[in-house]
């Protein structure tokens, strides 16, 4: 009974984090982007520097009419946002935050679980793109699929490099066996992982599937109201998950001074810094072209990740 309560409490905590952290990232994006462009960003909602802007947005989305195009495949169209959003919730459950089991639910082979489930989220975009009965949506869906196929590989290879280094697939296990010099050792892998993750999330500069100047909003063109908000939430939840994973895999998670007591703070701090970098990249760089994107994945990221794996193997053999 006590165990059940414990598990339920953990899951509730994860759910709360799932609902709060993406909003935090979204609000940060509003403000950071604005200041990087010499603006102020939202200033009214909630009073102090527009802290409640996303809450207000949510209310606005909830009030909007839920439109389904006449020619669309209704059920798939309506199901797609949930398919896009839920995987990130599942992933968030297994990301370790602090030492001594400070994790929603420790899954063995957690690395595989995380990568597997994150790949499912893209199905939501595909379903949305196909079911909208809109050629721009379809193009967006196609681009999403192509991008996913291209970037899943370097991401997996980079993650495999860390798993090799740690000798385990469990996320807490990877963090526990972390040493500070791993960050240098796995630097290339970390960069590849982060970049490929950005591309899987379709964040700028890898946002061809939603390139507004070419295909309006890609797979999400026909969505309105709450379903659209769910897609946006999925994007921000994806940022949280990606940054958390990069922290856990490459930046040592809770490692830092006084890790025993405030380890979770270190994880959150590192995740926040990475989230800031995600936003920073969005503001700084223009969108890549579709063929440049594919070329980047196949000719830059995959070779780098392969070199990283070779390096990991060599160091592992030499040091053991």
């Amino acid at each position: 009974m006590n165990d059940t309560l414990h598990v339920v409490l953990r899951l509730v905590a994860v759910l709360v984090a799932f609902l709060v952290l993406p909003l935090l990232v979204g609000q940060t994006e509003h403000k950071v982007m604005a200041h990087m462009q010499g603006r102020l960003g939202p200033m009214y909602a909630g009073g102090f520097h527009g802290w409640a802007q996303l809450v207000a947005d949510g209310v606005k989305f909830a009030q909007k009419e839920d439109v389904v195009p006449a020619d669309a495949d209704r059920r798939i169209f309506q199901l797609a946002p949930a398919v896009a959003l839920l995987p990130y919730l599942l992933v968030l459950i297994v990301i370790p935050v602090g030492p001594h089991g400070f994790v929603g639910e420790a899954v063995d082979a957690g690395l595989f679980f995380v990568l597997a489930v994150m790949g499912v989220g893209v199905l939501g975009s595909l379903m949305a793109g196909w079911a909208s009965a809109n050629k721009f949506s379809l193009l967006g869906g196609l681009r999403t699929a192509a991008q996913l196929m291209a970037y899943e590989l370097p991401m997996l290879l980079a993650a495999a490099s860390v798993a090799m280094a740690a000798g385990t697939l469990s996320l807490p296990g990877i963090v526990e066996s972390y040493h500070w010099w791993w960050t240098l050792w796995q630097l290339m892998g970390g960069l590849v992982f982060f970049t490929a993750g950005l591309a899987e999330l379709q964040r700028p500069p890898f946002d061809m599937p939603v390139a507004d100047s070419e295909i309006i909003f890609g797979a999400y063109t026909e969505y309105t109201g709450l379903r659209f908000a769910l897609f946006l939430l999925a994007e921000y939840a994806g940022i949280v998950v990606l940054c958390g994973l990069t922290t856990v895999l490459f930046l040592g998670g809770w490692h830092g001074p006084w890790a025993g007591s405030v380890g979770w703070l270190w994880t959150l701090l590192k995740t926040a810094v990475l989230a800031f970098i995600v936003i920073w990249l969005r503001v700084s760089y223009p969108r890549l072209r579709e063929d440049q994107l594919m070329k980047f994945a196949w000719t830059v990221l995959i070779p780098i990740s392969l070199v990283q794996i070779a390096l990991t193997g060599v160091v592992k053999v030499v040091t053991s």
Binding site: A72, I76, A109, L115, M118, V122, W130, A131, M149, D291
Partner: protein
């Protein structure tokens, strides 16, 4: 066999795992049947996702955790995405598709039913009194043991497999590459939009 000989849980007192397995199995089977019978192409692919996910859950119930995640990663994350990609490129329509089912569907049904009858009868007859002890070992060791056996006893097939994968990759690239000199001037425009595929 040894385990099955020592204790005989009856058919009529299924455990929780068995009930779960049965329910998930029914869902999986239903999704598979819809996959092969629906006339909407993309629906078939999405039902295939359900079926594959159900099989992943069955793997979990059989304590093959690693295989389950690989199943989700490769099948749901990649194979189905590729299938959907292919469906979109071959212009899968919304709604019923005229070319989903072939004329010989009744023959196929007869063959499948016959095969199913034979197989189920044989299997049920053979393993009538066999029980699996699913609460054996932890997942951690299973993953570890799978890995070490893969790279210790299965290295040669593994390497052969990687060569096969490479060959498939090269083959796919060669197949989908368009050579400008042999390309006929697209007669009806229907082939034109695929210029940049893959």
């Amino acid at each position: 066999m040894i385990h099955s000989a020592t204790h005989h849980p009856g058919f009529l007192s299924p455990t929780g795992v068995e009930i779960t397995f049965l329910l998930v199995g029914l869902a999986t089977l239903g999704a598979a049947v819809v996959t092969v019978t629906t006339r909407q192409l993309v629906h078939a692919a999405l039902w295939l996702v359900v079926a594959l996910g159900g099989i992943a859950v069955e793997y979990l119930l059989l304590t093959a955790e690693f295989i389950a995640w690989v199943q989700v990663l490769i099948y749901v994350g990649s194979v189905v995405v590729l299938l959907l990609f292919g469906l979109m490129l071959t212009k899968a329509p919304i709604g019923h598709s005229p070319d989903a089912d072939s004329e010989n569907r009744w023959v196929a049904l007869a063959v499948a039913l016959a095969a199913a009858g034979t197989l189920v009868w044989v299997v049920a007859d053979a393993f009538r009194s066999t029980w699996i002890d699913v609460h054996h070992g932890t997942g951690q060791s299973a993953t570890k043991v799978t890995g070490s056996s893969l790279f210790r006893f299965w290295v040669l097939p593994f390497e052969a497999l990687s060569v096969l994968l490479l060959a498939a990759l090269v083959g796919a690239i060669v197949l989908s590459r368009r050579r400008a000199d042999v390309l006929p001037p697209a007669p009806d425009g229907s082939t034109a939009p695929h210029g940049k595929d893959r």
